[in-house]
């Protein structure tokens, strides 16, 4: 059992957990993830290690509730425990002093980009971050990013905060204004990562994305996480999760992630009905 020390919503449906996992805290590097299983009978899901505290022996994960497992996870609070946590898995981010490095996060992707932004700063880069959300309340980790980035640009689709538009529009603006950009990291929904890759491709800017296929073991044993990169099959859990954005076949990734769409919708529906029942029972009491 892995104890939850602290749990707090950062945005609607996005929750941060600090979890006791001293070994992982000690070993993890930027870009790596854990696989967790909440309880017996639960699914194994991958989540990026957003931060760690080696002294306290804790790791931080930031979770967006989108399906049954993440929704259930987000009902847990400090004092609760998670049955299984394994990691750190995947290759650490490749970090060097590129010059100017931009980290782009869309929605919960900001949480996944954050540890790499920290490492890019530590390596001596001039760091910029563009953090996007649908509206103001979905822009997360702005204060944290400000501590490790020389420039931070929040963006919102509806213009309720920061730059009005998509993260790619802000990126294009920076490129057009003559900012010298040596490295771009983009993490978020697949269409966003694809759009960033398309934006930087004509300029030949080195661009890396972190892929999020469906995983089971996370150790290279099942091949379920395979993706197509540079026309070759890779296992994202051990060969990645970060890859050269200009070589990734996003279309294949997007449709493979839909493999269980119908079953998962059913499972989430059942779970929400269950939560409603509990809610109503509590009202009666």
């Amino acid at each position: 059992m892995y104890k939850i020390i602290n749990a707090k919503f950062l945005a609607p449906n996005i929750k941060r957990f600090v979890i006791e996992a001293p070994k992982i805290a000690l070993k993890r590097k930027a870009g790596q993830f854990v696989i967790i299983r909440i309880k017996d009978g639960g699914e194994r899901i991958p989540l990026t290690i957003a931060d760690s505290d080696t002294l306290a022996g804790t790791i931080t994960i930031i979770v967006q509730g989108i399906g049954k497992t993440t929704t259930e996870l987000n009902t847990l609070n400090s004092g609760d425990a998670i049955l299984d946590v394994v990691g750190p898995l995947g290759k650490p981010s490749h970090i060097e002093n590129f010059g100017t490095a931009i980290s782009i996060g869309g929605g919960v992707g900001t949480a996944i980009a954050y540890p790499t932004a920290v490492a890019l700063k530590a390596a001596g880069n001039h760091t910029i971050s563009i953090i996007g959300g649908r509206s103001k309340e979905f822009v997360i980790l702005e204060d944290e990013m400000k501590k490790v980035c020389d420039e931070v640009y929040p963006t919102t689709d509806d213009g309720s905060y920061g730059f009005h538009g998509f993260v790619t529009q802000k990126l294009k603006e920076l490129i057009d204004s003559g900012t010298k950009i040596d490295f771009v990291l983009a993490i978020g929904p697949i269409p966003m990562m694809k759009a960033v890759a398309d934006t930087t491709r004509p300029y030949g800017i080195k661009t890396v994305v972190s892929l999020n296929p469906i995983m089971v073991d996370g150790t290279g044993m099942c091949g379920g996480c395979r993706a197509t990169v540079d026309n070759k099959t890779v296992f994202v859990c051990v060969d990645g999760p970060e890859f050269d954005a200009h070589l990734v076949d996003f279309k294949t990734l997007e449709r493979r992630n839909k493999t269980y769409r119908d079953s998962e919708a059913e499972s989430l529906h059942d779970y929400k009905c269950y939560l409603d029942q509990i809610f109503e029972a509590n009202l009666k009491n």
Partner: protein, 473 residues
């Protein structure tokens, strides 16, 4: 019981294994074979001629005293028989179920020369089940503590048997397992209907009772490296990580939705219990009334295809590029598969997978093969027949053409020698690797093999590790 003459004994027919009716079992995950009754077991045991030179024993990779234990069964001393088997085989309830007996012990049995061999595996299974159900597993004696610590990496049959021996020799033993559950292929690969998980759990629980420490969620090479384990006070390490890297066909369309490796398909269904979705959270492709093709001809392929039938597949095919004589799966599994309505498309090889506009698998292009001259493995090499291509409509595919070795240990332990296939090179007598104090055995050394060989390697290593620990003060 009156003494039977050799002739009378030879007149008793081989006793059939009671089994679930194929029409019923094809839609449930309960065990297919039901096991001998006491009467059937004693009758079967009476068929054994108690040969002065029991050649059956030569056929068993770990040399179980077959003649001895069968004699005890014939006398009705089932617990005595259990103890006799356990002198050589730690996991008889498992081996009795999954050993390829027809190629091992039973292949050598003299009764088999003219008639049908003694059902050694079925007797072994009966004896082990009898012991478990009547008295529970009996704890062996443990030598006084030596103060030495051994780390075992991987909880498959090889790691478990090594742990069992070492704890009895008085060492402290910790087993590290990457997954959240213990048992290796016995739990994530071989399905419930062939090996009930309760049996594996009982074996593991008895090791826990003996004091073996199990740490799940520990991917060695990641959580700790082998070197770190040794720095953390382990005096020796046994690597038994199995063959955990799925092979694919490397043909067009293999990343379409609905194409699985056998590891993924079986792990979802067995380990994650997707057959009970949505009660359990992990889904698997819904094959109800759909067509499924499994590529390969080994036990893994049979397990996958029979699993898909149980999940409700309309048509479930085995597609294998050679003929049925060359199929490496156990005869019993092939027989059971046919009874359950599995269709065998032999001498057929896939050229490419075909998908619809949304990327879902819809079919596979197959080409017919004919057998040519024997190749290096002695099997006749399949050659494609030009122009014989055709398309088979399928909705799900499982690739079950074998496993390679997972590179995690290799990448993180440069001091250990691996061969070009990624298998660990060991001294065959001691299972010692090129790194001092580190031993290895099971599928990671041999490539995908059998439960009994993996178990035998674990026990051989335990002996050598004991010797090593007694020398290093």
């Amino acid at each position: 019981m009156p003494e039977l003459s050799k002739k009378d004994r030879m007149k008793i027919p081989r006793q059939p294994m009671p089994e679930q009716d194929s029409k019923i079992r094809r839609s449930n995950f309960k065990e297919v074979n039901l096991g001998f009754t006491e009467e059937l077991a004693r009758l079967e045991a009476l068929r054994c001629l108690q040969c002065p030179k029991p050649v059956c024993i030569e056929g068993c990779p770990v040399g179980v005293n077959i003649k001895g234990f069968i004699n005890l069964v014939a006398q009705g001393d089932f617990l005595g028989a259990a103890s006799k088997i356990k002198e050589d085989n730690m996991l008889p309830a498992i081996c009795g179920r999954v050993c390829p007996q027809e190629e091992q012990c039973e292949a050598k049995c003299v009764v088999g020369v003219k008639g049908e061999p003694i059902a050694i595996g079925r007797l072994e299974r009966f004896v082990a089940d009898y012991e478990r159900e009547h008295v529970g597993l009996r704890a062996p004696e443990i030598k006084s503590k030596t103060g030495k610590k051994v780390a075992i990496v991987g909880s498959g049959p090889s790691g478990l048997s090594c742990a069992g021996d070492l704890i009895q020799m008085g060492h402290d033993v910790t087993v590290f397992e990457a997954l959240h559950e213990l048992g290796g292929v016995l739990v994530y690969g071989i399905p419930e209907f062939r090996l009930p998980k309760e049996i594996v759990k009982t074996e593991i629980d008895s090791l826990k009772n003996l004091g073996v420490d199990f740490q799940t969620n520990a991917v060695i090479g990641v959580t700790d490296t082998i070197e770190e384990l040794m720095q953390n006070g382990y005096d020796a390490v046994f690597i038994a990580v199995g063959a955990g890297l799925p092979h694919f066909l490397n043909i067009e369309g293999e990343n379409l939705n609905g194409v699985y490796s056998s590891n993924e398909f079986l792990t979802r269904v067995n380990l994650m219990k997707a057959y009970k979705f949505p009660e359990y959270d992990t889904p698997v492709f819904n094959v109800k009334d759909k067509n499924v093709a499994v590529f390969g001809g080994g036990n893994t392929a049979m397990d996958a295809v029979r699993t898909s039938k149980r999940l409700g597949a309309k048509n479930a095919y085995i597609i294998y590029r050679r003929s049925d004589i060359e199929m490496p799966a156990r005869k019993e599994e092939i027989h059971h598969a046919k009874e359950e309505g599995i269709e065998f498309l032999l001498l057929s090889n896939p050229n490419k997978f075909i998908g619809d506009k949304d990327g879902w698998l819809t079919g596979v292009e197959l080409i017919k093969m004919e057998l040519g001259e024997p190749d290096s493995s002695g099997r006749r090499k399949p050659i494609p027949i030009e122009g014989s291509n055709y398309i088979l409509d399928i909705d799900m595919a499982v690739i079950a053409i074998g496993n390679g070795s997972n590179p995690i240990i290799q990448k993180t332990t440069p001091e250990i020698n691996f061969n070009k296939w990624g298998n660990i090179v060991v001294d065959e007598e001691t299972m010692a690797t090129s790194k001092k104090g580190v031993f290895a055995g099971g599928d990671i050394v041999t490539g995908g093999a059998t439960v009994i060989l993996a178990m035998g390697a674990g026990r051989k290593a335990a002996k050598a590790i004991n010797d090593f620990l007694l020398v290093t003060k």
